[in-house]
Assembly symmetry: C2
Homo-oligomer: 327 residues x 2
């Protein structure tokens, strides 16, 4: 078996996770990390990982099978995915839900012209959660689908806290309501308000001389971010923040609750518990890289999403082995 | 949109479930039930459902898009699936795990010669549980996969009880160990013995004059079926059995627990809670019927399993709609 040759574009938390995840897959090898920074300034997890300028990709079409794009959805991927799809099979984790159709169209156009395969919006949401929403509503035609997130660190909400006057540092956790989940599992199919589904926990380090009560009030009344939720604010020292809040846990639930006939409840629940959100997302990207390589080899050109990828394509095992061992 | 025309072959609990599930899908219509019994003796859920002899299928190739085969895995499906695949697109729920490769090969040969599509081993295990085993180990390359069944009524174990001298009627429930599940969720990756994973609860109606202690002893020491488990036996009246144990609940868990890097635990959990096992299984078959019809229309001939079916093919929604609404 020839190993699938992977390139990583962009080296933040997600790129680091991909570097680790590729090393756990026996049928893959890492060609290198490609960065816009000065390669000499990038320190990788594994010392032997080559780091090159993103410009080096120009001449490497024959050395890379699949590029994993690890940039952000706001500015990096809208530009990089269509551009790199002109020459490579690519996988991204574009996660701005509202802009997916537009991103898909641009990537699809580029990939069709070039005869490449571009698998977008892999990861866990969008990604694994999305396919469970599809399976759920296809199987239980009559019912409701619920998505709960957390307990998890929210980067966007943490950033919102850090921008406030008087806040030196902060993190925010999104907490799914256990009561709401219990009602959904019980088949109640409740209509749940935003406030009933999640709560928010903020851990804040104040700047010297800041007024704790004023900061707390500003947080809990912040429109969109915190006002619609029951929000708790805990003040702590910079040392405590560094000691207790360095992880990036996340996860959540997709639950489809339906009735197969009146009064006969059926519930499908998908749950993720992640010690590290970027490492988990990276693990998903890497499995989808295998699928992207196979789709490209089969001549399936254009943009694809996890909805278009059969489960068996993610596995290193042959169809025969999968049927014998896992069916 | 032209409705997908469905035929049901075999009319037990699963066939009844399919009849109901098809009625919930707006893009399907039921051509009828096809039975080996005298059609006049078959009473359907919906009065208007046509019931015909299975022999009537001979001349109905142009009237049916997908046949859902609802017979048993022991004797019906090994014969019917390859035979009917010679003329129809078929979906079955063949569930004898050890014999799947052999069944696949026979069905595949028939379908390839005939130019039909045959989707086998749909349902929830094999089926939904199987694809979650594949996703889990593909994504978390380093880890362990656990399958727990229940709380659920086991037909095979209930039959084993009913064959005993002194037993007038009985049901058996398989119960997953909450302690074992908690350990798996916590990322312990424990090695679990058969006894640690499940317990068994028997509800038994004795025949007149039967010796309760002797029956209990015979049950808990029965090799393979009950001896390897902690088994409880509760005696009750025929009235109590009829009142409290008429449902066919089932479900279970597939959990993949892995580490994305040393000490970083990641857990993927898939859980089903079914008030009615046959109705849930039927709902899965019907969603896969949609996929089978699409695979057939795309010229994908031969045998397939849920591993080969992209999630989007199960949904009545278009790819564009899925990307906009559920990704």
């Amino acid at each position: 078996m020839t190993a699938l040759r992977i390139g990583i574009v962009g080296y933040g938390n997600l790129g680091r996770g991909v570097e680790i995840a590729v090393s756990l897959q026996e049928d893959m090898e890492l060609v290198g990390v490609f960065t816009r920074r000065d390669p000499a300034t990038v320190s990788t997890v594994h010392e032997q990982t080559p780091v090159r300028s993103i410009d080096a990709l120009e001449s490497m079409q024959d050395e890379v099978d699949v590029l994993l794009l690890c940039g952000g959805s706001k500015t990096d991927l809208p530009e990089q995915t269509p551009l790199l799809a002109e020459r490579f099979t690519v996988v991204d984790s574009f996660d701005t839900h509202a802009r997916i159709p537009e991103h898909f169209a641009r990537v699809d156009a580029a990939a069709r012209v070039a005869g490449t395969t571009a698998l977008i919006s892999t990861g866990w949401d969008p990604g694994l959660f999305s396919i469970n929403r599809v399976y759920g509503e296809a199987i239980l035609a009559t019912g409701c689908t619920y998505t709960f997130w957390g307990r998890g660190l929210s980067q966007g909400h943490s950033d919102a806290l850090r921008r406030l006057d008087g806040v030196a540092a902060a993190v925010q956790y999104t907490i799914p309501s256990q009561d709401a989940i219990a009602r959904v599992r019980a088949g109640e199919q409740p209509a749940l308000s935003t406030r009933e589904k999640h709560t928010r926990e903020c851990f804040v380090v104040l700047e010297d001389g800041a007024d704790a009560d004023a900061v707390r009030e500003e947080i809990v009344t912040m429109p969109h971010y915190f006002e619609p939720y029951d929000t708790t604010v805990t003040f702590l020292s910079a040392e405590e923040l560094a000691r207790d809040h360095q992880g990036m846990p996340h996860g959540g639930f997709v639950i489809r609750a339906g009735e197969s006939s009146p009064g006969t409840n059926q519930t499908i629940e998908y749950r993720l518990q992640e010690d590290s959100n970027p490492e988990f997302t990276a693990s998903v990207l890497v499995a989808y890289a295998r699928a992207a390589g196979r789709l490209a080899a089969a001549g399936e050109h254009g943009a694809r999403t996890p909805f278009d990828v059969a489960p068996g394509l993610l596995s290193p095992k042959s169809p025969e082995q999968l049927r014998a061992e896992l069916l």
